[in-house]
Symmetry: C2
Subunit: 301 residues, 2 copies
């Protein structure tokens, strides 16, 4: 395992290694973080679009591209929230084995699964073709800048030398502190405790939305710290974001996450941020923001 | 001031910014860290050699080059140890002002000056042309990965956006901890206390070498955590390094630090590493290693 300064740093290292190995293109999911796409293009790789269906990224389409690598969020598609189906995982691995391609498995919130057995990592299906990437950003804090890459043996030397050459190893102090926290059992205790707390928040938010804004559809809720709320017909993302902002809530539309493709207007609602005492109030204000719009839409018709 | 993950990270950011601004070459001192030269070339800049004389880097020669920037160690040339003379500082600043060039002032061990008034930073002579770079690596620990850049206003936006784009900001936890340590006065106390301790070590080592190995010349001792020991005539660096290694001492020859030019065989001897209880013994063993050689050279003649 190679320690990196958060997933973004790990992705930058991997892109550099893959480009030096001759890759020219990297496939990204139709929806994802623009910052990750910027890292890929900043490393000199072109982006290839991978549509996302109800069973996750359409990895069967990889073989029709000239991508040398694919960046996937198999446990919990970001931000749409579905897991990558077993068939789609097998497609990705078959593509990697046939073409020598590399899958980067971004397990950004793997600690927070609620309604199902833990999914196995894709990496275990094909350790020679999949880089597993984990992070302390969700369970502890993004400001810690600590992540880890489980790297195929064939890539290990290049990943380590790229990290060394760029002299950007993360803080040794933080690494030692985290190691002690893990060894003493504190990390596990924290994840178990916070998983229960986040699950309660998710249940509260999803139930409130279903009851008070029945025409909004909630999805992607089996894991993680956010959900996707597809807006009632006629509502636009920018209006819903502005309506929430007027009530003191910072939510984002799905639009800014889209690389290609188009999806119905939706909000990406993170529920990890408000302090505990403010959470119930924040849920009520979000529902009010969406319900108000719901009530007024027919009047405008 | 921009916080970076140690000087190497800051140098990588600066090289990227300078290259995007059109610089193709960067001047480095004749002797310095190979790792820094690798960062410069890794960022796509070519190296230009700057000879070092008794008064430091020969910055008057900058105007005869096509360098767009110069990396200097004005307070304490690394590893040779002389300060950059006032005239040479003025030459560098004049070059920068005339050509639009940038000076990167690497103040790697500025906290540890012993025999003179603190030197002013070059940056104060020409804040619009000099980037001052400081680091916590010497006073605290290299593993902390924290440094800082005082950046000319005209470069600030590009430095910040390059740091943001590469998503390699250092640990927020470490930054907050260091800020509290500085604000509470702990950093100053630590530097004052350790400066006295390191000065004692320097005095002990220099006196022992002068007494026991009189034909070796000690230089670069007015500051820092290392000195340069020019070897007695006839001794080679590799033999002296091996002789010290047989006595359990890890010292380096000057050779590996050289970019161009040639200098008499010498050792670069750091005196910060041994624990306090082992320091006197380490000094004795270093003197024995060099004195032995001194005694045996005539026998081989």
């Amino acid at each position: 395992v190679v320690i990196c300064a958060g997933f973004s740093h790990g992705l930058a290292i991997l892109c550099e290694v893959l480009r030096q190995r001759g890759a020219a293109e990297l496939a990204v999911e139709e929806c994802g973080l623009a910052a990750h796409r910027d890292i890929v293009t900043g490393a000199g790789l072109r982006l290839v679009n991978l549509p996302v269906g109800d069973d996750g990224a359409q990895t069967a389409q990889l073989s029709g591209t000239s991508a040398g690598a694919a960046l996937l969020t198999p446990a919990h598609q970001f931000p749409l929230g579905m897991p990558l189906a077993a068939k789609r995982r097998a497609d990705a691995v078959a593509w990697a084995a046939a073409t020598g391609g590399t899958v980067i498995e971004d397990d950004y919130d793997g600690e927070y699964r609620y309604d199902r057995q833990p999914l196995g990592a894709m990496q275990s299906l094909a350790p020679e073709h999949v880089v597993y990437a984990g992070t302390a950003s969700k369970a502890l804090a993004p400001g810690l800048r600590l992540g880890w890459l489980a790297v195929p043996a064939s890539l290990m030397a290049e990943v380590v030398s790229t990290r060394t050459l760029t002299q950007r190893a993360p803080s040794t102090l933080d690494q030692l502190t985290l190691a002690e926290f893990i060894n003493a059992g504190g990390y596990d205790r924290h994840v178990r405790r916070s998983r229960i707390a986040y699950r309660r928040r998710r249940d509260l938010l999803a139930a409130a939305l279903r009851e008070q804004v029945p025409s909004a559809a909630v999805s992607g809720v089996a894991a993680g710290l956010h959900m996707v709320v597809t807006l009632p017909t006629g509502q636009q993302e920018t209006e819903a974001v502005a309506s929430a902002a007027r009530r003191g809530l910072a939510v984002q539309g799905l639009g800014p996450y889209s690389f290609q493709g188009s999806r119905p207007p939706a909000l990406v609602v993170g529920y990890g941020t408000p302090p505990q005492h403010a959470f119930t109030g924040a849920v009520a204000r979000l529902c009010a923001a969406l319900a108000d719009r719901e009530a007024t839409v027919p009047d405008q018709g």
